[in-house]
């Protein structure tokens, strides 16, 4: 029976229309769609989907509740393993995780687990009473540095275990990349803030405007009575190409372009005072999710032509398939097997063109992907007035540099035990992009949860 009902498509805003607004692209399932989709689930005895989830969400259990139209119950089941389901339902790469393991996917389409997660979480936000159970305080204090996905997930689990948790955030608002990086049209900021509000209801204290490494340090936190510290400061240091012309006016890091637009709400300038400028012809360097976000944001800010410039082919693009498809539907062009070698400016120092080189694919490299090889003599010029560099981010050194005794690898990432996420410094744990290098929201959340379990065990062992 179940196989005969096709997977329900996600209703979306029309591509032509949405390319000019910042409203959420995916509209979410209706009640009927959610129930029908949930009924497709085979309720496997040995659910493989769960093994594909970095936080091991009780997937068949929550889906069963949805199929029974007990949506609040479904949200409750989700929250056993995941404190931020409305976010994960929107930004997790489900096609590579839970949904890739779904038995239905062998002969047909997997259950739309992510869409159901989003439906249940959104339903609860609208209809739930928002109460949380109070837990017995443990008397232990934990400091968390960074209010991004890793830090928030860690905070939620530690608070549920009864520990007093304080999160130190450098920016003026909590959320990290969920606020400054991922655009409004993919993850509305109101949803992020509501999820964070739920953590605060659990007793998590969030202090904004606290740049650890400047206003305080890990050592000072330990001296001031914190029994353990979790570092989840992310990958907040933008990489540039290192090609001539990268400091011309009109060249942004993706971080700057997205921060101006999302965090500072530059798309509402001048009502919001932070400007973000986009020209007519925009080139986005890179083909990951951040590059897609940059390209789609540029379109919405009024750019006439936006291209993704990537030196490999479509196959190797690191972005989620859905993100690349959405970008293409909206009119983003893909200039593949192409890489810039220099950016040129006009007499005022503003970007006017870029020299690129064509590439072909050679032998597979260390990452298993066919490596791009430049075709000599293939230089050509393209006219651009804005360049957004989205080739990745490294670890921000403000915390690590100010923490003596913390072992780092040669790229500047913190070395942490893969099982416990303990660092070389007693009582100090770390997880997320600051340990792994730039990855995904859900992997960072998984690390935050893993660290929370191990911090809880550490604190109990200290009694």
């Amino acid at each position: 029976m179940a196989l005969k009902v096709p997977r329900h498509e996600m209703p979306c805003q029309d591509a032509q229309e949405r390319a000019h607004n910042f409203d959420e692209v995916a509209l979410g399932y209706t009640r009927e769609m959610a129930v029908e989709e949930a009924q497709r689930c085979l309720q496997c005895k040995n659910p493989l989907c769960r093994t594909g989830c970095p936080v091991e969400v009780l997937i068949p259990d929550f889906i069963k509740k949805v199929s029974e139209e007990d949506f609040l119950g479904a949200a409750e089941v989700l929250k056993v393993k995941n404190s931020l389901p409305a976010i994960c339902g929107r930004v997790c790469p489900q096609e590579n995780q839970c949904e890739s393991k779904c038995i239905l996917g062998i002969k047909g389409e997997p259950v739309a687990i992510g869409r159901l997660e989003r439906f249940a979480a959104d339903y609860e936000m609208k209809h739930g009473d928002g109460t949380v159970e109070k837990v017995q305080p443990s008397g232990k204090k934990v400091a968390i540095i960074g209010a991004g996905p890793a830090g928030l997930a860690c905070a939620g689990d530690l608070a549920k275990a009864g520990h007093a948790v304080t999160v130190f955030e450098a920016l003026h608002v909590a959320g990290g990349v969920l606020m400054y990086g991922i655009p409004q049209f993919r993850l509305p900021k109101e949803i992020v803030q509501r999820e964070i509000g739920n953590l605060e209801k659990l007793g998590v204290e969030i202090l904004t405007n606290q740049v650890v490494g400047k206003v305080t340090s890990v050592d000072e936190l330990m001296e001031n009575g914190y029994d353990a510290v979790f570092i989840g400061t992310g990958a907040g240091l933008p990489y540039f190409m290192g090609i001539p012309g990268e400091n011309l006016n009109g060249v942004y890091s993706a971080n700057e372009f997205l921060t101006r637009t999302n965090l500072m709400k530059g798309y509402k300038f001048p009502e919001y005072a932070t400007p973000v400028k986009v020209g007519k012809k925009v080139a986005v360097l890179g083909a990951g999710n951040v590059a897609m976000d940059g390209a789609r944001t540029a379109l919405r800010l009024g750019a006439e032509e936006v291209s993704i410039i990537y030196r490999r082919s479509r196959e190797e693009m690191p972005a989620r398939k859905e993100e690349a498809e959405h970008a293409e539907e909206e009119g983003v062009q893909f200039r593949l097997l192409t890489n810039p070698v220099a950016i040129h400016g006009d007499e005022r120092g503003w970007v006017k063109s870029m020299t690129c080189l064509r590439y072909e694919l050679g032998e597979p490299d260390a990452s298993g992907r066919r490596s791009p090889v430049a075709i000599s003599g293939s230089e050509f010029e393209i006219e651009v007035d804005t360049v957004i560099v989205a080739i990745g981010q490294g670890p921000n050194p403000l915390v690590t540099k100010s923490t003596p005794g913390l072992e780092l690898n040669k790229r500047g990432n913190i070395v942490a035990d893969p099982e416990t996420l303990a660092t070389s410094k007693p009582g100090v744990f770390a997880g997320g992009d600051i340990v792994t290098g730039a990855a995904t929201v859900i992997l960072a959340m998984g690390a935050g949860k893993k660290a929370a379990a191990s911090i809880d065990a550490y604190l109990k062992s200290k009694n």
Partner: protein
């Protein structure tokens, strides 16, 4: 919230604000800056620290009405508050005993020079401060700088006070009387810092400047503030704001400062239409 406990009009468009921010005040050092945001819709504005008081838990900043956000901050009254006030950011000044030091402040740049001059004097240096402004009525913090220095030399463009000319003329005055200068700090408009560096480069006198490029987060996350120093790209917010002025690519720094000028003018014009509220 970060309350304004004192407001002082220093010149027609320049005010001093002393702001309650105990955690920042406990750690601030000369040469560092803060980022402020007045309200929910405001920009994040980097401002160099003019003074800090660890006992009172306050940071003093000086701001000139030059654009939309600075105009709004300029109108803040005692008792009003900043929504956000983050710091101390950037690398602190390297305070040592160098010998004879000239501290040059041009216009608003006198404010950040103040704690640097004071610390250099406390470290046993002979501190000669050269203060410049367009005219006498725009010269700020003269008394504070006098207290922080062994001597002050004033230069005004219109000659209404001190030497007629630029801060470079004030510096020439000090050098020409035979003063052996070991190191110079020069803070002010880019064009002034560039002029000082062009003047001191052939003389071989090390000149430290403090750059004020466009910034957003101030923690190294966005790279808006990148400057070229000795042919290397640096982020002024975390690698600076102080750099060896002889190595700075001034043309590029000035170019980058102009990137959002149109938007800034648009916002300012809107503010003037609406009479100062948004």
């Amino acid at each position: 919230m970060y309350r304004v406990v004192k407001r002082r009009q220093l010149a027609p468009s320049i005010v001093l604000l002393e702001v309650e921010a105990p955690a920042v005040a406990a750690k601030a050092e000369p040469g560092q800056f803060v980022i402020v945001r007045m309200d929910e819709k405001s920009e994040r504005i980097p401002l160099t620290v003019m003074d800090f008081n660890r006992e009172k838990g306050t940071i003093t900043i000086v701001i000139q009405d030059v654009g939309y956000s600075s105009a709004l901050i300029n109108q803040m009254e005692e008792g009003s508050a900043f929504l956000d006030f983050v710091g101390p950011l950037g690398v602190k000044t390297e305070i040592e005993k160098y010998g004879t030091v000239v501290c040059i402040g041009g216009g608003l740049g006198i404010a950040p020079v103040h704690p640097i001059a004071r610390a250099l004097k406390e470290a046993g240096n002979k501190v000669i401060s050269v203060l410049g402004s367009r005219s006498a009525d725009l010269l700020i913090l003269e008394d504070e700088m006098r207290a922080a220095s062994d001597e002050i030399v004033v230069a005004t463009n219109d000659g209404s006070m001190g030497i007629q000319g630029f801060v470079t003329d004030g510096l020439a005055h000090v050098l020409n009387r035979g003063e052996k200068v070991d190191i110079i700090w020069a803070i002010g408009p880019m064009i002034m810092m560039k002029a000082v560096c062009d003047y001191t480069r052939p003389l071989g006198i090390k000149t430290i400047v403090s750059l004020n490029p466009v910034m957003v987060d101030g923690t190294g996350m966005c790279g808006a503030c990148r400057v070229s120093v000795g042919d290397e790209t640096k982020f002024a917010c975390v690698d600076g704001p102080e750099f060896d002025g002889h190595l700075v690519d001034w043309e590029l720094a000035m170019q980058r400062l102009a990137y959002f000028k149109d938007e800034e003018n648009r916002a300012k014009a809107r503010l003037e239409c609406e009479g100062g509220h948004h």
